[in-house]
């Protein structure tokens, strides 16, 4: 397992090199090499792990030097945050950062623990590594082309592409470290790095809005970090261990609840959702990275790790209620958005809500569903963000209204979007199956509230995806030409993503048997068949029908003789389907808008009550947990 340090070190190395490369060409080559290296290293680790049996493995017991380095790193991070917060006059943020670092240092001084393994490789960690490595590397490749077009478009922002790419790589290193750490202190260190790096990425453009949003992201994540630090203190003091696994086995309610709080902030659950929504100001690759494979997934990763300890406890109820509520509230708010990236952001939060709810229930089936949801969501969402980003670079807008009839203007990107959207909610793609299993598990757990959340939430989810898809495939000829300036490396990344989505669906049984079930087995020590063979057969029938029926119908109808006539506009069609004669006898352009139901589902109406409700729920539950334990 000698690959491990390289896996973390390689992206950090690339991150250190990239900003100093002045030539654009050298930078691109470095990024390609870096991304390739990350994928190769992750692949090597995977092969090594599989060859040694695919079991749980632990490493690095004696790491005093690294521990000291990490402590120094934490101090550096703290200094950076304090400096920036003073610079931008956001003093409370500095306080949060200082507080948690102080708590951690005090803990290490006051409660020394027995040395134990610091890194742990098991199925879940491996899965997260592979997702982060592959999805993330493609995003980096995409970013090279994207940033060129971005700065071509936005001349008002300073070109700091080198810094941007460097941060993306740093993020990888932190993410790998996070998922491969079995020790809470190490995990905390990487956790803080992801918080700070995401803060730097969000503030990339340095506009007023960007700075505001980046600090919002920072304080929310630092709040979670504080919870993390306190959890370490409590477990070191009371349980004399800082191993995640042992904490979970001990099932002590307070550290679990505090860690869950950290997970909730990281995965942007209500009431902490606003940081992820604000993260939209950054260039698209960073949104893609934050939303799909890394940042938010770190939150749900932690929650999944905690899930055995949460099953049937107050903490579990808290997490599952918050998750279920986030699922429905955010899917409702997504309806009222016409900004493509906002819809994606809300859908991310809402889908994560479902995963979080599954983790909170903490049964084998729900973890099964959660892991699958995570896989499908990472790939589909990363692809959707990239496609929207490319469309934005071409049209100069990411408004869904402007995507009317995109099928005729940008066919390739529309197909990619179509696959992504279908992957997000249509039968029989993975998300839906996972939802099906989650529903069954919620029923078995006897949680009527979650069943209702899921039932209503999937209805609202369906609406916002359907109307977007409907907008894309309108056959509408506009006079405005769109020139596809998407670069080859961008297409390469998106194409590989779409192949991946389709393959994941086609190889679903394999994925289920070979990947997900072993993970559940490792977490719970037991796993029973979640999907029976008959269900899998049904699914295969569905999958084949969804792919082949339209294709077959295409062949059937291709030869049908049709007479093409203009669309019906009460007889006032000018003949080209885009203009009609108005009451002055003049041609008027046809404009078709989607439904947004702003007065019913608008963010302005729903956000505040949702925040109050979820914050209240969180505070009351935390008080109950702490009070119950003390």
């Amino acid at each position: 397992m000698g690959v491990l340090p390289f896996l973390i070190g390689w992206p950090v190395l690339i991150a250190l090199i990239v900003p100093f490369l002045k030539s654009e060409r050298a930078r691109s080559v470095t990024v390609y090499v870096g991304a390739g290296g990350v994928m190769a290293l992750a692949g090597a680790l995977l092969v090594q792990w599989l060859l040694s049996g695919g079991v749980v493995m632990s490493f690095y017991e004696e790491t005093e030097l690294v521990d000291h380095l990490m402590l120094a790193g934490e101090l550096v991070l703290m200094a950076l945050i304090v400096f920036l917060s003073f610079k931008y006059r956001k003093y409370p943020v500095a306080l949060l950062s200082v507080a948690q670092t102080a708590v951690l240092i005090w803990t290490e001084m006051a409660f020394p623990v027995e040395p134990a393994s610091h890194m742990k490789v098991d199925g879940l960690a491996m899965l997260m590594t592979v997702i982060a490595a592959f999805v993330g590397s493609f995003i980096c490749i995409y970013a090279v082309g994207y940033m060129k077009a971005y700065h071509h478009h936005h001349t008002e922002y300073k070109d700091r592409t080198g810094f941007f790419l460097s941060m993306l790589f740093l993020f990888f290193g932190a993410m790998f470290g996070l998922v491969l750490s079995g020790n809470l202190v190490w995990m905390y260190f990487f956790w803080e790095i992801t918080s700070v790096v995401s803060f730097l990425l969000i503030g990339y453009t340095r506009t007023e809005e960007a700075v505001r949003n980046s600090f919002r992201a920072l304080w929310m994540n630092l709040l979670g970090g504080l919870g993390f630090a306190l959890a370490i203190t409590v477990s070191a003091a009371a349980l004399h261990t800082v191993q995640l696994e042992e904490v979970v086995q001990a099932g002590a309610p307070i550290p679990i609840a505090l860690l869950a709080l950290a997970g909730l902030t990281k995965s942007a659950q209500l009431p902490f959702s606003s940081w992820l929504l604000g993260a939209m100001v950054a260039p698209t690759p960073s949104s893609a990275l934050l939303h799909s494979a890394t940042m938010v997934k770190a939150g749900v990763y932690l929650l999944i790790r905690l899930s055995p300890a949460m099953a049937g406890t107050m903490g579990g109820t808290m997490v599952s209620l918050i998750g279920g509520f986030t699922f429905i509230a955010c899917s409702m708010m997504a309806i009222a958005q016409n900004d493509g990236k906002k819809v994606l952001a809300f859908s991310t939060i809402s889908n994560l809500g479902l995963i979080v709810a599954c983790a909170g229930i903490g049964k084998e089936e729900t973890i099964w569903a959660a892991v699958l949801l995570m896989v499908f969501h990472a790939v589909s969402k990363s692809m959707l963000f990239q496609a929207v980003g490319s469309i934005e670079n071409i049209l100069g807008s990411r408004d869904i209204e402007d995507m009317h009839g995109l099928l005729l203007r940008l066919p390739k990107l529309t197909y990619i979007m179509g696959i992504g959207i279908a992957g997000m909610y249509l039968a029989p793609f993975g998300m839906l199956i996972s939802k099906w299993v989650a529903l069954k598990a919620f029923v078995d757990a006897g949680d009527v509230l979650l069943v209702l959340f899921l039932a209503y939430g999937s209805a609202t989810t369906m609406l916002y995806w359907t109307k977007w898809l409907a907008k894309l495939i309108s056959i509408h000829h506009t006079k405005v030409e769109a020139k596809d300036i998407t670069r080859k490396d961008q297409y390469l990344s998106m194409f590989l993503h779409s192949v991946c989505v389709v393959l994941l669906c086609l190889l679903f049984p394999l994925l289920e048997r070979q990947v997900v079930t072993p993970i559940v087995l490792q977490i719970f020590g037991s796993a029973h068949e979640v999907l029976s063979m008959s269900v899998l057969t049904t699914m295969a029938v569905m999958l084949i029908s969804v792919i082949f029926v339209p294709a077959m119908m295409f062949l059937v109808t291709r030869s049908a003789r049709r007479v093409y006539v203009p669309i019906y506009m009460s007889g006032a069609n000018k003949g080209d389907n885009t203009y009609f004669v108005n009451s002055f006898g003049e041609p008027e352009h046809l404009y078709l808008s989607n439904w947004y139901l702003r007065f019913e589902f608008g963010m302005r109406h729903l956000m505040r009550p949702s925040l109050i409700f979820s914050a209240g729920l969180l505070i009351v539950m935390l008080c109950l947990i702490v009070g119950g334990a003390v």
Binding site: R561, V563, Y564, P566, Y568, G571, A572, N577, V581, G585
Partner: protein, 159 residues
């Protein structure tokens, strides 16, 4: 009666009528006359209509509309002009804006005179149109057959 005659769906268009005939057309739908007995449905959509039923004369503004709606009705189809204005232009014939009856714009198959035309007369006219429709259907089928035999196609592109 054949297939079409058993299920004639009609589209009612008001050219520039005084609404007298329109009221009578609607009267046909009421329980007293109940044209649904014949399978007739008053659809609002040219794409699904077999009979175009026009009341009132055609003026310069409605001319293009009538032509377009007629072009959006799939074959076989018939046109029934209801009321004297639709037949010839009626008392408005010499008005500066009136072009005349419906037949000045599109071919008319059945003329139903009257001011306003009585429901009985309208139903009578529609039933007459059904016979014509059936004949046109036979013609259309034959035409389609020959066109297929010659490998011709009647499709075009529309954008």
């Amino acid at each position: 009666m054949g297939k079409l005659a058993k299920s004639p769906w009609l589209l009612h268009y008001d050219g520039s009528s005084c609404n007298g005939c329109d009221i009578e057309v609607l009267a046909c739908l009421t329980p007293v006359y109940d044209i649904e007995r014949f399978g007739i449905i008053n659809t609002g959509d040219p794409f699904q209509a077999d009979i175009l039923l026009i009341t009132g004369g055609i003026n310069s503004q409605s001319e293009s509309v009538v032509k377009q709606i007629y072009s959006q009705m799939p074959n076989p189809k018939v046109v029934v002009a209801v009321g004297i204005c639709a037949c010839t232009g009626g008392v408005f014939k010499t008005c500066y804006n009136i072009k005349g009856g419906v037949d000045t714009v599109i071919p008319v198959d059945v003329y139903v005179p009257g001011c306003a035309a009585r429901p009985q007369a309208i139903i009578d006219g529609v039933v007459k149109a059904l016979e014509l429709l059936e004949r046109k259907r036979a013609d259309y089928a034959a035409q389609k057959k020959t066109a297929e035999g010659e490998g011709g196609t009647d499709s075009g592109t529309y954008q």
